[in-house]
Amino acid sequence: MSQVLAIENLSLSIAGARVVDGVSLSVAAGEVMAIVGESGCGKSLTAAAVMRLLPPAVRQEAGSIRLAGVDIARLRESEVRGLRGRRMSMIFQEPQAALDPLSTVGTHIAQSLRQPLHRVRAEVLRMLDEVGISDPARRIDQHPFELSGGMCQRVMIASALIGRPELLLADEPTTALDVTIQAQILDLLRKLARERGTAIVLITHDMGVVADIADRVAVMYAGRIAETGPVDALFAAPRHPYTALLLASIPRLTDVPKSVLAVIPGRVPGAAEFGPGCRFAGRCPLTEPRCEAEPPPLAPIGDGRATACWRWEQMV
């Protein structure tokens, strides 16, 4: 399969601190790649870097971001603007906040095509239907405040996809939604990947969402990828202590009620507290002196998997 997006060794810094450090990942056409991690792990910044929408305080220190072979970081702003909406699109957590309250649904979606609505009305109606909006002919002239959160998210997906981009970046697209609506939106994203061949990068903190929709996953911790691989294998047998603890700390419908959940002691280090070694070393049950001193590289361990742990073999 051809790679739609290939990020190589991406490093981003804020005031000198490497908040994203040496991240590499790729997504193929029709594939859903999840980036999962806790707040501040760098997952959203990684996506923003792909869209070239980084906040001004963030600097790209190193690395390349190739969209179908072209390095986005080397393009001029005007060239990147040409890619947004046509080759790559992004959807966000708060659909109401991402839609212009004064634009109708139709006007908003037509903007993605850089066309006035009357010229592309039929196309917009088809797209609204494709993302599962009932009664598109009525909805197209409504404003965001007349729609529920789930419907706003469908509108945002419609405007992201109407330009037929190869790549969709979805940053916590269901976090603000109820579970029954979340299930509908995840189904829709899965269908779009399969039927349109859209490559999807899904950013989430929810391991359940990853298990539901992703083909592959990258687990991020404190700016680095801890572990990556196909979801089935990674969930069945994590090869990084952080992944294992994260999975064990989630309450499940199959747990013994009131049992003690696994806990990761301490907290995520702030950007100013990063040591020279593995950033998880201070909280890791497997830490040895080498972990504190030397950062483990993200090294392949077979079957499409890779882990950034010196001691992963202890977990086998």
Binding site: E38, S39, S134, S148, G149, G150, M151, D178, V179, T180, I181, Q182, A183, Q184, L186, D187, H205, D206, M207, G208, V209, V210, A211, D212, A214, V231, D232, F235, A236, L245, L246, L247, S249, I250, P251, R252, L253, T254, D255, P257, K258, S259, V260, L261, A262, V263, I264, R267, V268
Partner: protein
């Protein structure tokens, strides 16, 4: 003994047209030491119900008995006396704490204003409360911003425990926390319940979290209860189609199991609580709705170990 009894509780808010019927006839009891989970989607009225129980919103009808005493229509003195026995933990620990107040003062305030402890005695008890929630007595001198989100929620819990309430109302207490921190707070809440024997009303949208901490679970939809059952019964044999749909929509963090699960996919959106559908309120989204569901309100009845409001449960 019932720590809390709700009978036909109603909380309606005046709206532009029809009043919003946020809570529309809810009855249940919580006995001493029991944890009751209250689950539902946004707008179902679960938080309004929690606020009514602690006296933060005034019910428009029905009855709320706290340790047998009516709080609907109670005056300020009676409400103040009631609040010594009922304390609340909110979702966001950042906005729950005064940023200019040292956490020791925040935790000790309930004891001070009620004249229970002061001076040296107050400081000692604040230290004990902080230790009870996994913090250290010397943390009393710090300000909220010097703590992480999880630690701040510990402070909020310590403050709620200061008066040794018989009922702790928790409204989404772990929803704002990261996964690894959430586990720490859930472990703390379960341990505190066991140690102190207090009852809890645990409001959450997260069914896995509720199952983890609750003895019984009430499922709320559009201001009313759809189902109420012991935790094990609700999760193993959900009776109401809404409960079944909610459970099947929770993505399990296990890709293989997740792919093989039977799904009850709901279509459509939650109707407005200002204009709830006639008959069964769930019929507009229900996969098994019949003609009777559109016309007749289902009777609250017992099926097995569960109580359920469905014509076909």
């Amino acid at each position: 003994m019932n720590v809390l009894s709700l009978r036909d509780l109603r909380v309606h808010f005046p709206g532009a047209g029809n009043p919003v019927r946020a809570v529309d006839g809810v009855s249940f009891d919580i006995v001493a030491g029991e944890t009751l989970g209250l689950v539902g989607e946004s707008g179902c009225g679960k938080s309004t119900l929690a606020n009514a129980v602690v006296g933060l919103v005034a019910p428009t009808g029905g009855s709320v008995l706290v340790r047998g005493e009516e709080i609907v229509g109670a005056d300020r003195t009676q409400l103040r006396a009631m609040r010594a026995h009922v304390q609340m933990v909110f979702q966001d620990p950042v906005t729950s704490l005064n940023p200019r107040m040292r956490v020791g003062d925040a935790v000790g305030e309930p004891l001070l204003v009620r004249g229970i402890a002061r001076g040296q005695d107050l400081r000692r008890r604040v230290g004990e409360l902080l230790e009870e929630v996994g913090l250290r007595p010397e943390h009393a001198m710090r300000f909220p911003h010097q703590f992480s989100g999880g630690q701040r929620q510990r402070v909020v819990i310590a403050r709620a425990l200061a008066l040794r309430p018989e009922l702790l109302v928790c409204d989404e207490p772990v929803s704002a926390l990261d996964v690894s921190v959430r586990a720490q707070i859930l472990n703390l809440l379960v341990a505190l319940q066991a140690r102190l024997g207090m009852a809890s009303l645990f409001v959450s949208h997260d069914l896995a979290v509720v199952r983890h901490v609750c003895d019984r679970v009430a499922v709320m939809y559009l201001g009313q209860l759809a189902e109420l059952a012991p935790s094990h019964a609700l999760y193993s044999t959900p009776r109401h189609p809404y409960t079944q749909a909610l459970l099947s929509a929770v993505p399990e963090p296990d890709p293989v199991a997740q792919r093989s699960r039977a799904r009850v996919m709901l279509t459509g959106e939650i109707p407005s609580p200002a204009n709830p559908p006639p008959g069964c309120r769930f019929h507009t989204r229900c996969p098994i709705a019949q003609a009777i569901c559109r016309s007749d309100i289902p009777v609250w009845r017992e099926v097995g170990e569960s109580q359920v409001a469905c014509h076909f449960a």
